[in-house]
Amino acid sequence: MSLAIPDVALIDNSDERAPLVLVLDCSGSMLEENKVGLLNDGLKTLEAELKNDPITARCGRVLVISFGGDNNVEIMGDWTDAMDFTPPALMAGGLTPLGTAMKCALDEVESQKAQMRSAGVSYKRPIIMLLSDGEPTDDWRPVAADCKNAESAHKVNVMAIGIGEQANGQILGAFSNKGALNLNGLKFKELFIWLSRSIQAVSRATSGTTVQLNPVDSWAQVQT
């Protein structure tokens, strides 16, 4: 039997943050099969998952970047603590300026890190998750190389995920040293549950070695 010590305060004094950027394809093709609708539902699942876990609710910092329209890259609101995260309602239409969006994500990660440093807040390695169902309509190659270099320098962890059969896995894979994965049967919900738990996994990883990810078999297409 354990003996209880009375009146011990158990609260978190650490102020640690785990930044997450979602880079989401809102081009015209996302209207097919209601992919954008399923993505919006998936974001609501992410919101619930983040808020359900006390550690992710407190540590997570989230930013959403959408790309589509007339070569339009939009930062959907400010960085928010996971406990305050409200998903935007995404609309689909137009082109796929994926390279510009990823450049924006890299810049946002660096400026967020600078802000946290100046505020004396420590942080985990940020995650950028890219979701796209097609292929870029802009000059993506230099940005893809920047993403891989940033990963090699342990600055960020990039997850590139294709949606459906039209997604160009080869191009998406050029944005991460881990290559790209493909979403199996539009399982956005499963993907976002996994993502929320991966933020916790990031907060547990204790070394400078490769970030270990939870198994992806709940949502990723099996490679054949």
Binding site: S2, L3, A4, I5, P6, D7, V8, A9, L10, I11, D12, N13, S14, D15, E16, P54, I55, K113, S122, Y123, K124, R125, H154, K155, Q200, V202, S203, R204, A205, T206, S207, G208, T209, T210, Q212
Partner: protein, 251 residues
Amino acid sequence: MAAPLHWQVFLASAAGSHHLESAAPCQDAGHYLVAGTTLVGVVCDGAGSASHGREGADFVARSIAQWLHETAADALAAPVASQTIAAVLERARGQLEALALAGARSLRDYACTVVGCLATAGNAFFFHLGDGYAVYRDASGACTVSPPENGEFADQTYFLSEAGWMQHLRVTILPVPQRGCLIGLMSDGTAPFAINRRRDGFFAPFIDPVVNYLRTAAPDEGARALLGVLADEKTFAITADDKTLLLALAA
């Protein structure tokens, strides 16, 4: 002449929610030895990414405590102490490497951090490699802290298994231990609730009730009570990591 100083030491390790969920063991380990006024305490945190982090942490903590204790029968001058501590860590690393080779594994599979203290009648030191915290609080409440060394990110640190480990070994000279002082060694899972926001000492609302209780506790009872605190489910809302705390009270 006053009676010599006497150490009361309490050590506990609790698995974090991450390891409890996967039915994996706690990857932290701690060991200590007391003889007369000499105290050696070591806490090691096995890397989550290392397959045998637990064994590495246990072997390293046990070996360092034992060997430093054997070496430190007499008070050591500061420069000698630094060399002695480095030599003992190097010896532990060498034996760990032999252990790894014998199991056809790499040293990296046994990666762990080290945070420890060596206190004798004449002087005292912290030695520290990687994350975790060591805190010395004198009877007046003034603290000396050995903070964690991380890379850019809070989830990166340095391990004894790494080739350049010695560049990251930090030895802190402490005041000569007096009655009423408190030494705390902890893994990084314990720090968020045991260290204050300014990171310059213990978090009083945590440590004061614990120390008040331990002062009058028998060794076994105190260690069990400390384990109860570390395993409290309220800690699961703070960290998913394993939590180890060694507290040494000088009476």
